[in-house]
Symmetry: C2
Subunit: 252 residues, 2 copies
């Protein structure tokens, strides 16, 4: 094994057999040795959830020279944590990539996303981390010219690691991508979030509501104009502006 080759840890929230992670792996293997540690099953909407009280295990699915695949019974964050603890004690991954998610993780979806959650966890551990998502929900993703863009982003980040504490949240529109835009997270929420299931229970549903559809610097705007959106996200959520105001008003 070439010890200078980057090690790329891949995970997702759709499960290790999903089409998105398979296509992402085909791109990533051009840039380094790939280790997949991904959920046994669907873990969508798990955000940065961690599993306690339930024993976690990793099952070796397959192993070859440049791709090793494990399935883990935990959340996306568990996959990152447990693999760092078990597989990467001597040499840590150079990159954590998560996805390609089947469905949007732009704007407020990033809050709930397990795909983004896994990238947050890589970032907490000081590893350059990227979440990739497609706005397609289909089981098979028709990715057009998305894969060369992913390849370019991986190459850029392997060459120039991300700032500590910053991850990338990358989303792709359906169909051809005209351009890649660096954006901020749009201000949005979900509304009418449930449908009745029976007399006293409800299933999650809902409509996406973008509070600023005309804001051209947002991920949602880019995606609705056939552009890929790249949003740098922080692990540190501190609102420094308001912190300064609070300290001015009440503080020392």
């Amino acid at each position: 094994m070439d010890n200078n080759r980057p090690i790329i840890l891949i995970t997702n929230d759709d499960g290790y057999e999903a089409d998105g992670i398979t296509q992402l792996t085909e791109v990533a293997r051009q840039h380094g040795k790939v280790v997949i540690v991904a959920p046994e099953q669907q873990q969508s909407g798990k955000s940065c959830a961690i599993t306690h009280s339930v024993p976690l295990r990793m099952r070796l699915v397959s192993e070859s020279d440049d791709i090793t695949i494990y399935a883990c019974n935990g959340t996306p964050v568990d996959c990152v944590k447990l693999s760092l603890y078990t597989l990467f004690r001597e040499r840590r991954p150079d990159l954590v990539i998560s996805g390609i998610n089947h469905g949007s993780n732009a704007s407020v979806n990033a809050v709930y996303s397990g795909t983004v959650g896994a990238a947050v966890e890589g970032c907490v551990n000081k590893i350059s981390s990227i979440a990739f998502s497609s706005l397609q929900y289909d089981k098979k993703l028709d990715l057009g010219n998305v894969l060369p863009i992913i390849s370019q982003i991986i190459e850029d980040v392997v060459r120039t690691p991300l700032p500590l504490g910053t991850l990338l949240n990358v989303n792709f529109p359906v169909g051809e991508v005209k351009e890649v835009r660096f954006c901020r997270q749009a201000n949005a929420r979900w509304s009418e979030e449930y449908v009745p299931h029976d007399t006293d229970s409800f299933l999650l549903a809902g409509e996406f509501y973008n509070r600023e559809p005309d804001a051209e610097d947002t991920d949602e705007w880019a995606l609705s104009h056939h552009m890929a959106s790249v949003v740098p996200l922080l692990v540190d959520r501190t609102d420094y502006n308001y912190l300064h105001k609070l300290n001015y008003k009440y503080g020392r």
Copy 2:
């Protein structure tokens, strides 16, 4: 019912019967009509996870003039979402408060916390939201002078709502609190995160590692010096500094 009284939605991640939520309710009822919608069972470490594919229900536990209690089979974020959809369609809560969590949600713990997750969800819905946590893990919380501080914070936020998109993450040290500090989130992580369970499985454990123990402006520093920490957190995680750099380097 006095329609001018504030409506306060209370939730947590330790379950509706936990001591922390009971003590928080006793304080909150002095400031408004309280509706508790909290998990049936322990939901620690759920972050902003949401439940899809499984029907969610709310069970009315008890009802009086000023406190109504529901138990919900979902995550803390589900509790907020489902109650907004079912109970608060005509008049929304004036405040969402979450806690008092049994255990720290300072620094990186906020990433994984269901208590903080619920407050994030309130904030996504433009409701002033506060997460309260105690560094005590005990089943019964010995809160000393914490409750008057919580009362003051609730009073302040009812009078002056938080900026849209900003929530408060409040943590209390064990024992008496000398002072309340406005802080930033400390840069920390967990290390050595698992212990073997059997030959091929692991249980979450780990040691908290603060990367900046001497930084006096952090929540961890305040908490280790007998102070309560108040950290304003943003829903919008965009790293605007790095976004500007990316646009300067590659962008339009």
